[in-house]
């Protein structure tokens, strides 16, 4: 792969197989990020509790944002000039920033909710919820 990349930088053509490989890796990472974001969206709607929703939002949001930004950084590269490297470096800087800050902010939110006496659902609440949903679906 390194040889392919070096050859393509010499021939300066954006359609060589090395660049095609890099761009397809970028497109695949973007689509994987969309899949994780779909998981976040479904979890935010369907989970019954604040803490479970936070679980879906925190993890899926971080991973999908990182994957999508890195994929876009790879798709954006077309040559090995200085500006293109700088662009990739900036995008990787955003990725690092989000990798640090999103878990921090969700931790702070969780702590605020727990100190505000927002209790997680217990077994009894889950049984009640299940009974109610059964009634509403069968009647």
């Amino acid at each position: 792969m390194i040889e392919l990349l070096a050859n393509s930088s010499v021939s300066e053509s954006a359609n060589s197989p090395g660049w095609f490989l890099v761009h397809s890796i970028g497109v695949g990472m973007g689509i994987l990020g969309l899949v994780f974001f779909l998981g976040t969206a479904v979890g935010m709607v369907r989970f019954p509790d604040f803490y479970t929703r936070m679980h879906a939002a925190g993890k899926g949001d971080t991973l999908s944002t990182m994957l999508m930004l890195t994929g876009f950084g790879l798709v954006m590269m077309e040559d090995f000039s200085l500006s293109s490297w700088l662009l990739l470096l900036k995008i990787l800087g955003i990725v690092l920033f989000i990798f640090i800050t999103t878990p921090t902010s969700s931790h702070a939110l969780m702590r605020a909710a727990f100190e505000d006496d927002e209790m997680p659902l217990g077994e009894k609440d889950l049984k009640k919820l299940r009974k109610r949903s059964r009634k509403s679906t069968f009647k």
Binding site: F37, L69, L87, S105, A108, L109
Partner: protein
């Protein structure tokens, strides 16, 4: 291919934001709403990079994305500090007796 990838990706991101907007509107507690705003703000940084691709000015829009991610983080931290439970006013004026602990031997 680059433009089509950006367009499809941005459109699907916008479509997937709708369930989170639903959670922001009907969320039972305030924390659900803040969580949804946080998720949408993080995704806005991605959408800014996508818009930069469409305008061919990615080097400029990436800076906007950095600033937006920073503001989003600061907003989440500030709001979670603000919603933190503080001491009620009556308790502050008339401090409660401390709960009894086991006497030291």
């Amino acid at each position: 291919m680059k433009e089509w990838f950006a367009i499809i990706m941005g459109a699907s991101l916008l479509v997937l934001m709708v369930p989170i907007l639903y959670r922001i509107v009907v969320g039972p507690t305030g924390f659900d709403r803040i969580l949804g705003v946080n998720v949408i703000g993080t995704k806005t940084a991605v959408i800014l990079v996508i818009i930069g691709t469409l305008f061919d000015r990615v080097d400029m829009f990436v800076d906007f994305a950095i600033a937006y991610a920073l503001l989003n983080f600061v907003g989440a931290i500030v709001v979670s500090r603000y919603f933190n439970r503080t001491v009620p006013l009556q308790e502050m004026e008339k401090p409660k007796p401390k709960p009894r602990t086991r006497a030291k031997t």
